[in-house]
């Protein structure tokens, strides 16, 4: 009986792994196809003369508050703020929230932007740690700096929301650079659709690009393997992943590095929650809030407003980041567990959240199980070697197709990477991912699954991203 049960378990598990492999790859393929349709349509309509004319119109905007949470960002904060002050936008304010930095971030800002104390009253609409002071630049009247006690990124953005004056806010990381028209492109969606409550643009990797006067002037693939691999991952995640989820009305993440929100809705859900995955958590709560109250709403990803961000350049930093992302995702799913497989939340729950639960959360466990079972099955003589080899080949080739598909979406529609060598390298990386890189990331996600209760961000090393037009 015991032997029969063991036999049954082994065979059932093989079936689960095989089925999982088929489902996951089919989902990714479907997302790419959906994304292709969406991106081509979007590109067609946004490049028309009327669309460009409207984008340039001085009446075609709503004022926006750009909120930049900064904790120990002295190395990059000046260049980042300068880039934001150069945005092409008729009316906006930049609110830098110094979240209890200990590396002189506030001093750097004070010196570089001639900050003066300002008695701006701050409404307590969403909770955050105490504010120590509010400053305004005497050189740039639309630059405000809020100095507060350290409370984490979510807490800092909450303080920024309270200090902001405009109905729409854009949150952006301090180590990121917005393209000059990114704010126009993303905020115009709020004018075109009254139901829109949140939107996010694409995040691209700054490493390998040349920055001059706070703007990316030359785009190139970074030389390092890890950084270049992240370009591929971001391209896949944003252009096939988020655009695909968009088409299914199930977008659950608007990147914390660049998201634009309607302030009243974010205030209505109580602002950001203190967690490492505050971006996903907020979007899930927005979905929940609107669905619970029957408020018609839209949360959209748009592929053309671009935010450039620094990617980790060492394996240690990369693993730390991925660990944090995975913990954040688990925390957001747990906090919003009422939405899991709940018909009340429609496609968002049945498609979007199900994907995150069964693929993103359980996926690493199933994949690990697959890897571990290979030697065990082999040892007991139960491994069908021919089947195993064919399955591995199929998995790798299908995975490569999905990766190249994402590269195709990018190069075909946006043509950011213009050098042939860069395109070919991305194609090579599409294959290289399956031989070591994927397994290392899997291991880190498993560690994150086990330690998901751990709080905290840890520190990230930064490169100064501008030295008179040098490459990052």
């Amino acid at each position: 009986m015991k032997l029969f049960l063991l036999w049954l378990a082994v065979h059932a598990s093989q079936y689960v792994v095989f089925l999982y492999f088929l489902v996951v790859n089919s989902v990714y393929t479907a997302l790419i196809l959906l994304a292709l349709r969406d991106i081509v349509r979007h590109a067609y309509l946004t490049t028309s003369r009327v669309a460009r004319r409207q984008l340039a119109s001085e009446f075609y905007f709503k004022p926006v508050s750009v909120i930049v949470p900064a904790h120990n960002e002295a190395a990059v904060i000046t260049a980042s703020v300068q880039a934001l002050l150069n945005l092409h936008y008729p009316e906006f304010e930049v609110i830098v929230v110094n979240d209890g930095s200990t590396d002189g971030t506030l001093e750097r800002l004070r010196l570089d932007f001639s900050l003066l104390p300002c008695a701006k009253p701050v409404r307590l609409q969403v909770p955050h740690e105490a504010i120590r002071g509010v400053y305004r630049s005497s050189a740039y009247r639309h630059l405000i700096v809020v100095d507060k006690v350290n409370g984490g990124k979510a807490d800092a953005i909450n303080a920024g929301i309270n200090a902001s004056s405009y109905p729409i806010f854009c949150s952006i990381d301090a180590d990121s650079l917005l393209e000059p028209d990114a704010l126009l492109k993303s905020s115009k969606l709020f004018l075109e659709d009254d139901e829109l409550i949140a939107t996010g643009g694409i995040i691209r990797i700054l490493n390998g690009c040349t920055v001059r006067d706070g703007a990316v002037t030359e785009i190139g693939l970074p030389r390092g393997f890890l950084e270049a691999m992240q370009v591929l991952e971001y391209t896949r995640a944003f252009l096939s992943g988020r655009t695909g989820w968009n088409a299914l009305k199930s977008l659950l993440i608007i990147s914390g590095a660049f998201g634009v929100f309607r302030k009243d809705m974010v205030v209505a859900v109580g602002g950001y929650r203190k967690t490492v995955g505050e971006d996903m958590d907020l979007v899930m709560r927005l979905h929940r809030h609107c669905r619970d109250r029957g408020i018609p709403y839209k949360i959209l990803f748009v592929p053309d407003p671009v935010c450039w961000t620094q990617a980790p350049f060492s394996l240690r930093m990369l693993l730390k980041q991925r660990n944090r992302w995975h913990r954040g995702m688990i925390d957001a799913l747990l906090a919003n567990r009422a939405m899991i497989l709940n018909r009340k939340y429609g496609a968002t729950s049945l498609i979007g959240i199900s994907y995150f639960v069964f693929v993103e959360f359980l996926g690493p466990l199933i994949e690990l199980f697959g890897y571990v079972s290979i030697p065990i099955l082999y040892y007991f003589g139960m491994l069908n070697e021919r089947f195993f080899v064919m399955l591995v080949l199929l998995a790798v080739f299908w995975g490569i197709s999905i990766n190249i598909g994402a590269v195709f979406l990018d190069i075909y529609n946006f043509r950011r990477y213009k050098k042939t060598s860069d395109i070919l390298r991305l194609c090579v990386l599409s294959a290289a991912e399956f031989f070591g890189y994927r397994q290392i990331m899997l291991l880190e996600r498993l560690i994150a699954t086990v330690t998901f209760r751990k709080k905290g961000w840890g520190t990230q090393d930064r490169r100064v991203f501008e030295q008179k037009g040098t490459t990052v």
């Binding site: 028309s48 003369r49 004018l191």
Partner: protein, 362 residues
């Protein structure tokens, strides 16, 4: 269980075929990417050159059609249409006549009219956008015909947008309003853009009064959404309708319970330098109306110092802050009132006053 699969006679043949197909597909994708990159680069270069050539020919040559090669490929049509639309936007007189002539000489309008009936809706939408950028009067009948047969709402909205740029007389506005009311309300910005186009087209034709007649017609028309009336007023604001002064005041008086219309009227009047309703708006029950009036209060209402000072204790944060800012811009007498409020017992009024004083000092 997997044995059921693996023992089927053709299982491995199918899997091998799938692997080979995926491999071939990957190689094909890479080759297509590289080929497409080269194609797009060539096409971009050609497009830029053609655009430059067309613009130069339009400005310098007497018969540009004789100099320019006839377009055949899509990118050639796109290059010409961009050059022509840009010339039409920037020039007047003889050059625009030549540009309009070139559209028909090179068959550009015919090409986009064909595309406007394409089976893919966004291609139809794009063709309509391009045709509307030409602002050709002759396209009016075509747009109306396409509108009747069009099934996509997105394209229908674009057709109305195109028609709004061709408005010349009162009948056109009525026709447009009818088409617009047949579709679901899209967004404030869209409707405002439509009316903005109408006003600017009428202004250019010296017929601005026609829009006033239209606005008077819909003033008490219950079938027209108040949202649309508000968008008309916002368009007046954007287009600075100097002649609509009286009508804007009538709208302000006719909708005392519609804050959105009141706000639009206050703003539109202020833009043309008329602050006659601002004082009344400062007393409105809706905080948004008070806020809109406060933005201009320093220009007209400093005789209302006690009322504005009282607004430093308004329940709305925005009103308090803007009342303080209005006082800060209002001269010495107002600043004295602000300093008193800043030192006063009311914490809300004090913080707003201190902020405004700090702003002014800075």
């Amino acid at each position: 269980m997997l044995e059921i699969l693996t023992q089927s006679p053709h299982f491995y043949d199918y899997v091998t075929a799938a692997v080979l197909l995926l491999g071939a597909f990957n190689v094909a994708e890479i080759l297509f990417l590289l080929w497409n990159k080269a194609r797009v680069e060539r096409s971009d270069l050609k497009r830029q050159n053609l655009k430059r050539l067309a613009s130069t020919a339009l400005i310098t040559a007497t018969d540009p059609a004789a100099l320019l090669p006839r377009p055949a490929a899509e990118e050639e049509f796109a290059a010409y249409s961009e050059a022509i639309a840009s010339v039409l936007d920037s020039f007047e007189g003889e050059i625009t006549i030549k540009a309009v002539q070139l559209i028909s000489d090179l068959g550009i309008d015919e090409h986009y009219r064909r595309l406007a009936r394409h089976r893919v809706w966004y291609k139809r939408g794009n063709a309509i956008d391009i045709l509307s950028s030409f602002k050709l009067k002759s396209n009016k009948e075509f747009f109306l015909a396409v509108f009747r047969s069009e099934t996509s709402l997105d394209v229908r909205y674009r057709i109305i947008y195109g028609l709004s740029r061709l408005t010349r007389e009162h009948a056109d506005i009525r026709a447009l309003a009818r088409l617009l009311s047949g579709l679901p309300y899209l967004t404030a910005k869209y409707t405002e853009d439509i009316f903005y186009n109408i006003i600017t087209a009428l202004k250019a034709a010296g017929n601005e009064a026609e829009f006033g007649i239209f606005m008077r017609e819909i003033l008490h028309d219950k079938t027209v959404l108040n949202l649309v009336k508000r968008d008309c007023l916002t368009a007046c604001y954007a287009a600075s309708c100097e002649r609509g002064r009286g009508l804007l005041k009538e709208y302000y008086a006719a909708f005392p319970d519609e804050p959105e219309i009141l706000i639009a009227a206050v703003k539109a009047l202020a833009r043309i330098g008329d602050f006659s309703v601002t004082a009344d708006a400062l007393k409105n029950q809706d905080w948004r109306v008070r806020l809109a009036a406060l933005k201009h209060a320093h220009l007209c209402c400093m005789d209302m110092l006690p009322e504005i000072t009282a607004m430093l204790r308004d329940p709305s944060y925005h009103v308090r802050l803007n009342a303080a800012l209005a006082l800060a811009k209002g001269g010495d007498r107002c600043r004295v009132a602000l300093r008193e409020a800043a030192a006063g017992p009311d914490a809300f009024a004090a913080s707003a006053a201190a902020y405004a004083l700090g702003q002014e000092d800075a």
